[in-house]
Subunit: 355 residues, 4 copies
């Protein structure tokens, strides 16, 4: 009768860290959140109230937490700059790892996590691209796989955040890697998923503007950008990312195939309510990505747990996370240089167009 | 090479009369509007500007207009109270007739038009239920006829007018025949169309309220009402009519069959624009029925013209217009009496339920 | 630091019983499912696999289960015919009760549960109308409460089940109380919620057909029905219930107020995917009510648990469940008799219309 | 009482020529179609049946037609290769001109029409971008102009034709100018409209594939392509064009502003019918662009007529048509070369990125 639960710890208790901690504590029946770490005093206070009473041990030091008796896995939700370092330490400590995206804003650093993971093939190491766990994206993927739209050929995807007039995005841009690495990384990962995990990028090009926040320019960032990603194999993805969507989180995707098209969230909505009033018919939409993807995060926690406990194959390769960062960084570079960037079939930069 | 056009006159130049006149003048290539009549001086002024310059002869007297040289047809868009009288006079003058709905708010008077028309089988006499000419309703009907939803069984339809705070509807209620005769007559006609023109009513019952305009009660009317109509043959229609829709004209219909359902305008919209703003996503809807059915009225004018010129069968029987008034009047009676009303298979009132 | 969890048992492990048991076991962090009972051997087998390994004690006898050490609450998901008896026994055993709807298909029996509960005011006794816990319905209710649509006046609601060609519904009709008691009870409960829990019914009338399953007639049931419910206070609800919806579960509600309208699920969808293919644009819808209301059931479990642990007021009165059954039974009676049924302001049947 | 009508002739009676001819004959009250020309015998046969009986004089020779007594205007709907030549001849003959898009697939040839028109400022010379006359686009434009979405910043637009498996598009590609010049020209014109007629292009870049029709490559064309157009002034348009949309014509536009977003036709539909069936809920969409834009073409005919008769300002500048061709040709060139193309602020090509 002894039901085994996965003993997991949460690193970082910021906005997403709190959510991951609570998902593993309350909504992942096969997991047991045993520990959490954060260097931040406010976050420790929050944890004393919301985690400690339920048997979660709190640590101010990540390294200490890794030594927690019986610990089997770590979910890393700290600031992006320490993702890779913490992931590698956990791997070295023989722990399964679920790391928030991105592994790093640097391709090389991202790759170092893959290298570390390769040495420990018994461990489950996953970069948490939440949309992979969203029921609608999964349904679309299954429909595509079943042949419903023929051969997928063109991919359109956008990640549009609600305008935050507080200036948060400007400060955030210093470390975020830029809008393509921070926002579009999800869309890039989706493109790799729908076009095939081993798709090779052939070129990227992008353009952007600072419509509302010119201060972003000092961090080489923009508040709106579009990009095109060509793949060897003859598919094209085109992307839009924005920090100024008035209505809320507006993330939509289209997969255009030779025999049909699938859309995901082309008509965003917060719920099933419509309001008829003198100005017309209105519906609300989720203000933030968590309003759109809450259930996907919960699915992620449960599936990661099952993969660890039952030694199942993870739903995506870790190498894909590096490929996504590589494409995101190249798009960000093109955004600033104004130039198109080419890659040869080996994945190396090339000076000229390869037709 | 002499192309024959139908010489038609328009009786009444009120709100709908103006529209009918212009439809025949400008948007019905095979018709020629040769005359128009109205006793109203303001309407005459309007006509001097918009009709007369294009060769339309104006009359203050309807009877005079009927004698217009070469006249072949009349469209009657005057006040409801004279519909029947004018229609019968036109029939007696050997003119085709397109009469605005309803023929009359009285079943007997409506029947008198049918009786008159029966004596002149060479004439086209049609009561203009505009929705019969709407492309969406027609598409739904064709799909049903093709068997797409199996056997039609339940019919839901609503006619909801935008709130008019001017008090217009209260004054109007004195002559309109009531909300079921004025608004729901369209839905009743649609039910007869979709269930079959010769469907026999078995019972009607209704309930209503005066949510905003209690003054309607002095004319035995309500501003919101729902009703159920049972037919021999085992189908049921249920209806909603309202005078207080905040967003605009909200007319929707569902036809539920044994193998599927068809909806028409279940998601009303003024056009194809959506507005994303801080309060959500919004679309506008037509403020009035003409915004929804303009093209249907134009189709009606063109098809009536073709039926007259080419001696084609009209798309609906005139007897249906009497049946619609009969059901509408019974619903209106039930609304006031609070009682269910039964009919035997001959169409006569019955005191008790016939199961 | 001792976090108290609600020790709860589940009675009945049929279709809904399994779900309730798993909700309390896995998705209700503050509850501990300690026991489950069922007289059915197949259900016991299922429970040995899915519940027992997690520490849930299994009982074949409900009465025995009630004596389980430390038990604090029971969720009753057995067949409708024993709902009331089991609820009263649990109340007598000083246990909180969450009972699946309806309390009974009989008004008197339903009332007996209320009477029992009244004697134990410290207990939480709730009839589980799941839609009350649905995020969309709640959002609509909050918007109405905030005045967004003025005074709610007309209420339209439908519960349409996917066609089940197996004949299940015919067998089920013997005990279900009929389509209005089984399906529309949800819509009636919603009407009472939106119009006010203490709304007094003034009249009911209904009509129905057996479009596909004439065998239902032997149990005085129909496969499609519409009804009108008038309330003292000047509101009207009208309802549609069906057992033959081709596309899946099609449950929609509209609340029409003096200044606007709210719709809930007027455009059903299984998820956020749209499929463009040669026949047009298509989306799927949930096949069954659990596909639509899963999260509402989980919310229900969590909120009931919180009410028990923290001695909070339940979100709805138990008397409403009796009122809903009363209206449902009257609609079912009218469906068979073909007659309108009137109530006086005391809630007693009246022979004649009260205007 | 002499109402003046615009005497107009139609050049070309192919697919669009027939439609233009009929629009001016039947649906443009202030115009009189007096002549039509085509060198094609089949088209002459069609015209003998559909135009001649209504008083339209037929010509096999365009130049002859220009001498038609009293002719005031010409609508040019012949093959693209003769658009410019015919337009210039008509201008030289002192006739108003409504020319189907594009003026030419060559920038220089397009400019020659502008030059000719400049010498006759009393003439109305318009290139018919039909979407400018579409009610939904106009409503969106008006809303933008009123400030509803702040400052327009990002523009997304797509023109997706239904897959035509006949091979038509391959043959057509020889003369069409390519997919960006043929399809996206509409989207480019819309971008110029919404961003301001005098917007200066800064760069273009594009990518494309031949997903289904590799034979297009021999004409330097593709069946799917995406492009980015940067404007001086800090706006960006991004475009998608396709020849393989399974469901039908799928033309959508989004205008993203600093305070909101407007979409046009993001949810395409043929009409207001939805079909509920066992596979879900479905709606049809127009198979071709005429199904989507029929009314816009009729509006165009009427407004062009009014501009000629009343000497009103045309709704758009002819120079915009040259600018659209210029951008379309550059996108087409980038599609083949794989290179990004830069322009300086004078509109001249530049070798390097101008940041």
């Amino acid at each position: 009768m002894a039901v085994q639960k996965l003993k997991i710890a949460c690193a970082g208790l910021g906005r997403m860290g709190k959510r991951h901690a609570l998902h593993f504590l309350e909504r992942t029946p096969r997991a047991e959140l045993v520990a959490a770490s954060t260097p931040d005093d406010n976050e420790i206070q929050w944890a004393k109230q919301h985690l400690e009473p339920f048997g979660v041990r709190l640590y101010k030091d990540y390294d200490e937490m890794l030594k927690h008796e019986g610990l089997q896995a770590v979910v890393i939700a700290s600031v992006t700059t320490v993702h890779a370092e913490q992931a590698i330490k956990a791997i070295d400590a023989n722990l399964h790892v679920l790391c928030e995206k991105p592994l790093s804003t640097s391709v090389e650093v991202s790759q170092s996590v893959v290298d570390a993971a390769r040495k420990k093939p018994h461990l489950k190491v996953m970069c948490g691209f939440s949309r992979r766990f969203d029921n609608s994206y999964r349904d679309a993927f299954d429909k595509m796989e079943s042949g419903l739209i023929g051969r997928p050929s063109i991919f359109r995807s956008q990640t549009c955040d609600k305008l935050d007039p507080s200036g948060f995005f400007v400060a955030y841009a210093e470390f975020s890697g830029g809008i393509f690495v921070d926002c579009s990384i999800h869309d890039i990962d989706l493109a790799l998923w729908f076009f095939g995990q081993d798709s090779q990028v052939k070129s990227v090009v992008s353009s952007g503007i600072t419509a509302l926040q010119p201060e972003l320019r000092k961090h080489n960032d923009r508040d709106n950008a579009v990009g095109i990603v060509e793949f060897y194999g003859g598919q094209v993805a085109y992307l839009f990312c924005s920090r100024m969507m008035a209505a809320g989180q507006d993330d939509a995707t289209e997969i255009i195939g030779t025999e049909g098209k699938l859309t995901v969230n082309a008509q965003p909505m917060a719920n099933l309510v419509n309001i008829y009033e003198s100005t017309g018919i209105r519906r609300e939409i989720p203000p933030h990505y968590y309003g759109r993807f809450e259930q996907a995060f919960v699915n992620e926690a449960n599936e990661f747990t099952a993969c660890c406990l039952d030694d199942l194959k993870l739903p995506m390769k870790l190498t894909g996370a590096v490929q996504a960062v590589k494409i995101g960084c190249a798009l960000q570079e093109s955004l600033i240089s104004g130039k198109k960037i080419y890659f040869d079939e080996m994945g190396n930069r090339s000076e000229k167009a390869l037709l």
